[in-house]
């Protein structure tokens, strides 16, 4: 009897171990993999995106100075070109609302739209603006520049003549540009020492980097991208359309371009651009039911992207003429949100960063 039990147990143990060695899919390297992912995020996404943005903001400052010295059509055109370049590079930065950026409300200071025109006009007349006052968040950054470069008058001639006649406008324009640099410098500086903190925070807690960044990524997709760029102006949350809430409203021609660039940023971050990121992480930890999840998410992104491509360059026009197309696009983007917030969160077992209570 004892012999039988012994041989049975040894067979069982043998079976268990031989099975387990088959299934050993590099899972004991979770730490390494997570830290590779964080390194990829920091070194190939977050830090370079911020420096590209900074470069563009420096060009913007130069073009701004030229325009201030000589407000003419040529200088306005070149200022507008660098403005669009900088706005495009911002699309690669907005989702990284983490660490120093989160602490200094960077995102809010750079891109709250629609901008508050009345506030801008008051600031212009007062000639003294505290840009760190939260009431002034929507009177600075890209949306304020959008207004100042395209919206203060109805034609280019009138805009230029306004800058020529009223120096207060010129002064506010350069203050806004300068403030964008002032907002950005400290973020880049602080990322120096913060980079190692970020990369080394690989444990699975609510405040660890992987969890925070993944939550931030989803939050950006849902709010910054889906709601702000599409849902809100299309009237999804208000019952009636609010076309004046599109991004780049005064330019009248870049809302689609900005949205596509933002989607590019979302996709490359998700795929990882050659390094480890969410899609590979999903593949590595997923089992059975989730086998196709990472490509399903990507496919859904592609569907949404092709619908965005079909929209008018100016979302304002699109909403006014045929809002259903925007709503369809919104729905396709929303399908992506569902995949990220149910399947991806379930398979990655990301601790949510907000719930502090016991479970059972």
């Amino acid at each position: 009897m004892i012999k039988k039990i012994f041989s049975f147990t040894s067979i069982l143990i043998f079976l268990i171990f031989s099975c387990s060695s088959d299934n050993d899919d590099s899972s004991s390297e979770v730490w390494v993999q997570k830290s590779e992912m964080l390194t990829n995020w920091a070194d190939n996404f977050i830090i370079p995106s911020h420096s590209t943005l900074l470069d563009n903001l420096v060009y913007l400052e130069g073009a701004g100075n030229s325009f201030t010295n000589l407000p003419n059509q040529q200088n306005l055109d070149s200022l507008r070109t660098v403005f669009i370049n900088a706005y495009m590079s911002w699309q690669y930065v907005e989702m990284f609302d983490i660490g120093p950026a989160e602490e200094s409300y960077y995102k809010s200071k750079m891109n709250i739209y629609p901008t508050t025109v009345s506030r801008i006009e008051i600031n212009i007349q007062n000639e003294n603006t505290d840009f760190n006052n939260s009431n002034n968040y929507s009177a600075q950054g890209f949306p304020a520049l959008d207004y100042l470069l395209y919206g203060i008058e109805t034609s280019d001639e009138l805009i230029i003549s306004k800058y020529n006649t009223d120096s207060k406008y010129l002064s506010y324009l350069s203050k806004v540009i300068n403030q964008m640099l002032q907002n950005t410098y400290p973020i880049i500086e602080e990322w120096g020492p913060y980079r190692n903190t970020f990369v080394n925070s690989v444990e699975n807690t609510a405040t660890s980097s992987v969890n925070k960044m993944t939550n931030d990524f989803i939050y950006y997709y849902e709010k910054g991208f889906r709601a702000n760029k599409f849902g809100i102006p299309a009237g999804v949350f208000s019952g009636s359309t609010l076309p004046e809430k599109v991004e780049g409203y005064y330019n009248k021609n870049i809302s689609k371009q900005l949205a596509l660039e933002a989607f590019q940023a979302i996709k490359t971050f998700y795929i990882g651009n050659g390094g480890v990121s969410l899609s590979q992480y999903i593949d590595d930890v997923s089992s059975d039911g989730y086998a196709d999840l990472s490509t399903d998410i990507l496919d859904q992104f592609d569907i949404a992207e092709s619908l965005i491509n079909g929209l008018d360059n100016n979302f304002y026009n699109q909403i006014i003429t045929d809002n259903n197309k925007v709503l369809e696009t919104y729905d396709a983007i929303q399908q992506g949100t569902i995949l990220l917030k149910t399947d991806m969160l379930s398979v990655l077992q990301i601790a949510t960063d907000y719930v502090d209570a016991d479970g059972d």
């Binding site: 979770v30 009636s240 930890v285 989730y290 149910t342 059972d360």
Partner: protein
């Protein structure tokens, strides 16, 4: 048979296990509530939400604003009194009422172990836990050596039900065949020293722990009941609870169960515990034990018939309530109809994403839709819990319907866009998006607007 029962009900046993249980219970409760307060959860869970999810039939229970703290103070004072055995009956009644009231304020915070505390404290109202080694003995100048056997046995029975039923609930295909949800949870514990990177990542460990957990829960009551296996059983209890306490954020529950399981031991063990306590409190004790108290042999329960019928009814409910899910045609883990109050612990990993759309007639008489931002009404915790539980979804839909109707919106209808992922399955639509939830009423009836899961989970 009848005479056997009668003899059992008349039999007496040493009072010390119940006294130790009372002290342990009081101390654990005191610590739990102080911890809850210290973590700021009174504020975040009960005061910050602008809206509370109610248990069906208890909609009248509301938070008391800043006076909610008073409820916790009542809990704290009664825990202290229970511990020292002062005005025991009154204290345990106050504890049961205040604790249960707190739990009824918002079902978002429902935990099986809070329910366990409520049921246990209710049961303890009818037990003579102050018969021995209590301050009441000193003041009443009476102490009892023996109490009716059934008064200790019914705590053992309640604990056994908790273990055994949670073991039964684990006999299902997700848990045993797919090792779900442990297969999702354990690998994410890679940051636990030594075992995190190695064991927690192994498929066989997930299966082993699933099966082990099931056998553990089913057998613990028996291991603790039989004298020969009791010590082994208790070692298992300590190991299992401490281990799960390391793995999962389950707060005080492991310690409550460990202390609670001591009741299975003989009175000799409890006398030793009491001796230790006596040594600790000796300086204070000298002053109070002066009074000449009489030590009586057997405690007789007053209103015995009444008490016994209440306790019997209590256990009949405890035995049958967990099976009420059989009355629903839906998949239990998916629809959660009949899920709570049944000792179903750690069985599901569910993530939901639920948003609401209201339809109304605009001022121009045009049918209009608008999507609601949950963050305008719910805390993150409430939103998380709401997103996969149908009764929450319905209650919130009504709240939204009322809110917008009061704001003057006409012909309001509320639709849910809801997706849920259960135990490693890909997400599925959860609620029929065409049903106006504002017209659906909460009841114990089957909720036909839940879209059934297109899979079958076999078992209890």
């Amino acid at each position: 048979m009848n005479s056997k029962i009668n003899n059992y009900l008349k039999s007496h046993t040493n009072a010390s296990p119940l006294a130790v249980f009372r002290i342990g219970f009081g101390l654990m409760m005191l610590y739990s509530i102080l911890r809850f307060w210290y973590k700021g959860w009174i504020q975040t869970l009960y005061l910050e939400p602008q809206f509370h999810f109610k248990y069906y039939g208890f909609e009248w229970v509301r938070d008391l604003g800043d006076y909610t703290y008073l409820l916790f103070i009542i809990c704290i004072i009664s825990s202290v009194f229970i511990t020292i055995g002062f005005k025991y009956r009154l204290s345990i009644i106050f504890f049961f009422l205040s604790f249960t009231y707190i739990e009824l304020i918002d079902k978002t915070t429902y935990l099986n172990h809070y329910y366990f505390i409520s049921t246990l404290s209710f049961l303890m109202i009818f037990l003579p836990a102050n018969a021995y080694f209590s301050l009441d003995n000193v003041f009443r100048k009476k102490s009892y050596k023996q109490i009716p056997t059934w008064t200790i046995d019914c705590i053992k029975l309640l604990l056994s039900i908790v273990y055994f039923y949670s073991g039964l609930a684990k006999i299902n295909s997700d848990w045993l065949l797919n090792a779900m949800p442990l297969k999702l949870w354990l690998p994410s514990k890679y940051d636990i020293p030594l075992i995190g990177e190695t064991f927690m990542q192994q498929d066989w460990v997930h299966h082993f722990m699933s099966w082990g957990g099931m056998f553990y829960d089913l057998s613990i009551p028996f291991l603790l009941l039989y004298k020969k296996t009791r010590v082994v059983g208790f070692i298992l209890v300590v190991f299992f609870h401490l281990f799960t306490g390391v793995l999962f954020p389950i707060g005080m529950f492991p310690y409550i169960m460990i202390i609670g399981s001591l009741i299975f031991f003989d009175s000799s063990v409890h006398h030793k515990i009491i001796d230790i306590i006596k040594k600790i409190i000796n300086p204070i004790r000298k002053n109070i034990e002066l009074s000449n108290k009489t030590i009586k042999e057997n405690l007789i329960i007053k209103n015995k018939k009444f008490v016994l019928s209440i306790v019997s009814l209590f256990f009949i409910i405890q035995l049958f309530l967990p099976f009420r899910y059989l009355l629903y045609p839906s998949e239990l883990f998916w629809s959660e109809e009949g899920y709570r109050f049944s000792w179903r612990v750690m069985l599901v990993e569910k993530i939901g994403y639920t948003t609401f759309k209201i339809k109304y007639k605009s001022a121009q008489g045009v049918e209009t839709f608008k999507v609601i931002g949950n963050e305008d009404f719910l805390t993150d915790f409430q939103e998380k819990q709401m997103s996969f539980q149908p009764d929450f979804i319905l209650e919130y839909a009504h709240y939204l319907g009322d809110y917008y109707t009061e704001k003057g919106y006409l012909n309001v209808a509320v639709y849910a866009d809801s997706y849920v992922s259960l135990n490693g399955r890909r997400h599925q639509q959860f609620v029929n998006p065409k049903v106006d939830l504002y017209k659906e009423k909460e009841s114990f009836k089957y909720k036909t607007w839940i879209i059934p899961i297109n899979d079958e989970i076999k078992g209890f």
